[in-house]
């Protein structure tokens, strides 16, 4: 597998793709939270970007350009699905910073951990079970020793509480 450092140049579009597809995907997943959309948006970024791209640009320039494209693509996605910009790619998001080999980006995981740490125990637990461990409502209810109905209520309340934290809206 080809390795390219940022001061270098990509030999062809395939190198651009190989080196960046996982990074773009991870950025997109962090912004949409589901695989089908993350895949579509990743495809849209490359489809849009590779045409006009000149490989004479340095790897850093190519990445800046992919990121700019990703920003536009994400904005378009929210515009046509929810009519509101739920998440955006900001200046702090960069393709270089995305660790492609780790199972989750440290940043995403630590933000979520910081958020959860501020919640009461039962809220934290239901969110962990449902969102991070992908348990069904029933499984989560069993794990917590509560009824399914209450687990649902608890999940809504917990998410509302999480939404009110500073980590989310910043």
């Amino acid at each position: 597998m080809l390795r390219v450092v940022s001061e270098e140049f990509y030999p062809d579009w395939e190198a651009v793709y190989r080196d960046n597809v996982a990074r773009v995907y991870r950025l997109m997943f962090a912004k949409v939270g589901n695989r089908p959309d993350a895949e579509d948006l990743t495809a849209e970024v490359f489809a849009t970007a590779l045409g006009p791209l000149r490989v004479s640009a340095s790897a850093a320039e190519v990445r800046a350009y992919l990121l700019a494209t990703a920003r536009t693509v994400l904005a378009g996605h929210w515009r046509r699905t929810l009519g509101r910009e739920v998440t955006t790619l900001t200046d702090e998001d960069s393709l270089e910073a995305v660790p492609v080999d780790a199972p989750t980006s440290a940043d995403t995981a630590s933000r979520a951990a910081r958020m959860l740490a501020q919640l009461p125990e039962s809220y934290r637990r239901i969110l962990e079970l449902r969102f991070l461990e992908s348990c069904s409502v029933r499984e989560a209810a069993t794990a917590m020793g509560i009824s399914v109905t209450y687990a649902k209520v608890l999940q809504h309340r917990a998410l509302r509480a999480a939404a009110a934290l500073r980590e989310v809206s910043e």
Partner: protein
């Protein structure tokens, strides 16, 4: 209790499905953000499927080999349950064109000046004259849903259309070498008489037989006022 659309969005995320669209309110946003943030903290969530990476590579290779010009932007998107299918499809198409237009600009910018461009708010490449005025091109009543009309303001020529209730105006000049585009009403396409290039009425490039794809058509600002459709264009030469 959060509104239904937001609740369904969260439920879809939890099932790993593509969330259904709905008209989100500002009050929903933080909850949606929290849900997205938690979902993306799931171990392994940020790693693309091998199949996807391989498949996309193939589609890009096809696109770059000229086997299809719009292939990627369109079929990539799987069917998505929508309330209003037509509107969505058209809006989707236009935003793809929009990103293409921005990218054209961004590419030159990034590659020549090395300044990271921000595409986020730029939207489609829009022609805004320094000294423009709102000029009427059609009566509102004459531009019905799904309609397209050409206009010639002397300073600017273009096409205005109404799709899904929204107005859009694009330049009527081919971005390749400047030939005037002709409207093919049945297919709602704008065809270049010179080199068999076609654009959608939202400005998106549909077809070309050139070595390099020409950029999407610039958008023009359009509004509806006092029963008239108006374009923001330079004043005409008297």
């Amino acid at each position: 209790m959060s509104p239904r659309g937001a609740r369904r969005f969260v439920a879809d995320l939890l099932r790993g499905r593509r969330p259904r669209s709905f008209r989100a309110q500002d009050t929903d946003l933080d909850e949606l953000r929290a849900a997205i943030m938690l979902r993306s903290a799931q171990p392994g969530s940020g790693v693309p499927r091998e199949e996807f990476v391989t498949d996309l590579h193939q589609r890009l290779a096809d696109q770059l080999a000229g086997k299809s010009t719009t292939a990627l932007a369109e079929p990539v998107r799987g069917p998505r349950p929508v309330v209003d299918g037509t509107r969505r499809r058209l809006v989707a198409a236009s935003s793809i064109a929009a990103s293409a237009a921005v990218v054209g600009a961004v590419a030159d910018h990034v590659l020549t000046t090395r300044t990271p461009a921000s595409g986020g708010q730029a939207g489609p490449q829009t022609l805004v004259p320094d000294a423009g005025q709102w000029r009427t091109v059609a009566a509102s009543a004459d531009l019905t849903e799904g309609g397209v009309q050409g206009f010639d303001l002397g300073t600017v020529v273009g096409f205005v259309s109404r799709t899904g209730g929204a107005l859009r105006a694009v330049s009527g000049v081919c971005t390749h070498l400047g030939c005037r585009l002709a409207l093919d009403a049945p297919t709602r396409q704008l065809n270049c008489p010179c080199h068999r290039t076609s654009f959608a009425i939202n400005g998106e490039l549909l077809r070309y037989q050139l070595r390099v794809p020409p950029p999407a058509l610039p958008q023009l600002e359009v509004r509806e006022a006092d029963g008239a459709v108006q374009i923001f264009a330079p004043p005409g030469q008297a």
